[in-house]
Amino acid sequence: MNTLIFLIPIALFLGALGLGAFLWSLKSGQYDDVEGAAWRVLDDGDDKPGR
């Protein structure tokens, strides 16, 4: 029971972190061109997802 006191908040916090990361990546346009991103990583002059 005692362990639950901190384990559950930690679990929820980590989950929320993942959710936040997903929402952020969605907002910053990282899913707009999934195939293209795989190639652009090899391109030196290009480092941010654009629209």
């Binding site: 639950l4 061109d33 195939e35 391109d43 654009g50």
Partner: protein, 764 residues
């Protein structure tokens, strides 16, 4: 265009020149302002497939001074270009972008669908899916501990945590269902969202009540995972939704706003088209569209009447020729007499047809909606019956309530909600990989139902570009002479002639173009003329060409040197496509605006028994409507402006990416690669999708048949609900994924061909 290696580039050039670039006019209209004097254009580039393609296309575009930024999207095979409207006081011609892309070797088309990136509702739905997914996993973890036998105190704690996670999720992620259900109820209807909203609200309320009383069973996990699955279905469905689209604005743009009226005393006055009266004289310059139906009284020109008959061959206009509003005056200036007002002109008639056709199409109801209409009252009745049944049976109304809620949760259309959209999204992905774009999910359902296919000829079954016949049998010297003359003209036959000459051509200066006739040059050998027979021979010969081919005659001093005949080559894969559709038992016909001999030739080549020639847009639309009235489901495949009303009137329609903007707007499917085999491919994919949707429905219903009795008998616990719900959803999704698979050979080939070939390879 020309190259010094004889014999090799003839074919390659013909290959390259096959698709004209999108016109500047269309590109400009399809672009949208993004502020600060900038505009954005979206072009589809079906050939991009790797990192090098991205760099090549973006590099070529960014090298242009007017381009602010260019971005290739590899997933959607599109490039969006943001460009300045003006550079140093010069207006920018957006065709330069298309030309720059073409110069790198990639084919490009105008892309005029609504840009999906700006879809706010889709993003809201994805966020809701993420939130409900987070909530569902966390609550499910807590529930697993409860089910594996947590002691009472821990169980209560877990229930409370679940309640706190589920509450806000219900409000945030469930709002789509609440809104939709409320809308339906307010209008006295019921839809799939009513049982959903009822189930999630009631199960949450009951679970909260149970938690307050430290009871054993809470349904929070069911509530939230239900929401999660349903939102996935809803999001996919939104991607495949019917988009409001209309080809009417595109048609209306073909009408010039005004025209130059010439008064009897010779003064000129620019007036809006609506104010032009019958009998007034108008002056029409080269490059202008005809404002109203009229008759030529002076001047000569070539008229592009593709809006009337879909043909690329211009009509020679001379005094007495009748012209239709919307046709394009290509070469000379004309003085005409208006024979109809703008309201009674040809273009207004086409717009009227379009309005009627688009209005009639809204009748199709999607499979999912039809299923919902049966399903949702059934579920309500079932839940109500079990509530009353248990209530009267053992008098324990609370227990009756719990059973009714269990029934609502179990029957909740998770799998049903996923059944249609998952299949359609997978099918759309497969079609896209094969070079076919789908505008909405209902189009795919409609395509699966067809039993008749109607084709346009020029630009659909054929390439719509003339090709020289029997090039090898012609006198080389005459061909190069003709090519040298033809190089001075933009007439489609001249372009084809110039392109067909493989060797070096003599240089001929001082070529004059006689509008409606041909080309003339005075050389040492005499007067050379290249054009129609009447013009070239210098006398009025009227030979009705019954062979169905267009011809150009080269004469020297009135003596015929050579007759060049042109045919409109069949589109690649046309024969295979017709054979495939025939095997599927589809009834086929050709409806063309072209002359009968030309249509008969193509119909004979392809083995299509029924054809009609010289049809106006109205007659085409009526022919489609007649078949529909006879109970047939008609697929229309066409590309021209003259096909647009028929495309909209047909049960479902397909257009090539090279089609006129209006045609592409009106069609449900657009195929990007050249091969016509895209049509049977789309049909077969739609059929398979239809079959999978029906399978999914039976799976979902089969699940209900097993699970509902358990729920009605009161044996459904949250654990059973969770297992049953997830399993049925997963089965439906996995079944849908069976649609993926190998692409047909033509699509793989087309994808290879769409990539630019290195000049070395091409020459080899």
């Amino acid at each position: 265009m020309s190259c010094c290696a004889p014999g090799t580039e003839g074919a390659a050039d013909a290959e390259r020149a096959r698709h004209a670039l999108p016109s500047s006019e269309e590109l400009l209209l399809a672009s949208r302002p993004v502020g600060e004097g900038l505009r954005q254009s979206d072009l589809s580039v079906p050939g991009v497939h790797c990192g090098t393609c991205i760099t090549t296309v973006e590099g070529a575009l960014n090298a242009l001074p007017e381009v602010v930024r260019a971005r290739v999207n590899l997933s959607t095979r599109r490039v969006s270009v943001v460009w300045k409207e003006e550079v140093e006081g010069r207006r920018i011609d957006p065709q330069a972008f298309a030309a720059a892309i073409r110069a790198t070797g990639y084919d490009t088309h105008l892309f005029s669908l609504v840009a999906e990136g700006d879809d706010a509702l889709r993003n809201q739905l994805i966020r809701a899916v993420a939130v409900s997914g987070f909530a569902a996993t966390n609550i499910m973890l807590l529930s697993v501990s409860v089910w594996s036998g947590a002691e009472a105190a821990t169980r209560d704690l877990f229930h409370w945590i679940s309640a706190f996670i589920a509450g806000p999720t219900l409000i945030y992620a469930g709002r789509f269902f609440y809104k939709s259900a409320w809308n339906a109820i307010r209008h006295g209807r019921t839809n799939m969202d009513v049982p959903i909203a009822l189930a999630i609200t009631l199960s949450y309320a009951v679970s909260l009540w149970e938690t307050l009383h430290s009871a054993e069973h809470a349904w929070f996990d069911a509530t939230v995972s239900l929401l999660f699955f349903l939102l996935i279905g809803r999001t996919l469905d939104h991607v495949m939704r019917d988009r409001a689209r209309s080809a009417i604005p595109g048609l209306a743009r073909l009408s010039p706003r005004g025209a130059m009226v010439v008064r009897p005393d010779g003064t000129r006055d620019y007036r809006p088209v609506e104010e032009i009266a019958i009998g007034e004289h108008l002056s029409i310059a080269a490059g202008e569209r005809i404002p109203v139906d009229c008759r030529v009284i002076a001047g000569a020109s070539d008229i592009d009447r593709s809006i009337v008959n879909g043909e690329s061959d211009p009509l020679a206009a001379a005094p007495g020729t009748q012209l239709e509003a919307g046709a394009m005056n290509l070469t000379g200036s004309l003085t005409v007499e208006a024979t109809a007002t703008a309201r009674d002109s040809f273009l207004s008639e086409v717009i009227g047809l379009m309005e009627a056709a688009e209005g009639g199409r809204a009748r199709y109801r999607r499979i999912a909606d039809r299923a919902a209409q049966v399903y949702s009252p059934a579920v309500h009745l079932l839940a109500l019956a079990s509530f009353l049944g248990w209530g009267f049976f053992d008098g324990d109304w609370k227990h009756a309530m719990l059973v009714a809620i269990a029934v609502l949760i179990i029957t909740c259309p998770c799998a049903l909600g996923l059944a249609v959209p998952v299949v359609q999204v997978v099918a759309a992905g497969r079609l896209f990989a094969g070079g076919v774009m789908v505008k909405d999910g209902s189009a795919m359902e409609r395509l699966a139902e067809i039993d008749t296919a109607v084709f346009d000829k020029t630009g659909t079954l054929t390439l719509g570009k003339p090709r020289l016949v029997d090039r090898d049998k012609l006198n080389r010297a005459h061909l190069s002479l003709a090519a040298a003359l033809a190089a001075h003209s933009r007439h489609p036959l001249s372009l084809a002639l110039a392109g067909a000459n493989a060797g070096p051509a003599p240089v001929i200066d001082a070529v004059t173009e006689v509008a409606g006739g041909g080309l003339e040059a005075v050389t040492g050998q005499g007067v050379l003329r290249l054009g129609n027979r009447a013009f070239a021979c210098g006398k009025a010969v009227t030979s009705e060409d019954a062979h169905g081919l267009s011809e150009v005659v080269l004469t020297c001093g009135g003596k015929v040197l050579e007759t060049f005949r042109f045919e409109d080559g069949l589109r690649a894969g046309a024969a295979e496509a017709i054979t495939a559709l025939k095997q599927d038992g589809i009834d086929m016909a050709i409806l063309s605006g072209d002359r009968a001999p030309a249509v008969a030739r193509i119909a004979g080549l392809l083995g299509i028994g029924r054809w009609r020639a010289a049809l106006s847009p109205r007659e085409k639309t009526e022919a489609v409507a007649e078949r529909a009235a006879a109970g047939r489901r008609v697929l229309m495949v066409g590309d021209g402006i003259n096909d647009a009303p028929a495309l909209a009137a047909a049960h479902v329609s397909i257009a090539p990416a090279t089609a006129a903007d209006v045609g592409r707007q009106a069609a449900d499917f657009v195929f990007l690669h050249e091969s016509l085999e895209a049509v049977p491919f789309a049909y077969q994919t739609a059929r398979r999708a239809g079959r999978l949707i029906r399978q999914n429905f039976s799976l979902a219903i089969g699940y209900n048949v097993i699970a509902v009795p358990i729920a009605i008998l009161g044996h459904a616990t949250p654990l059973i609900a969770a297992i049953a719900m997830s399993t049925s959803s997963i089965i439906v999704v996995v079944n849908s994924l069976r649609l993926r698979g190998r692409l047909p050979a033509f699509a793989v080939r087309a994808a290879d061909e769409a990539r630019p070939v290195k000049p070395m390879v091409r020459a080899a």
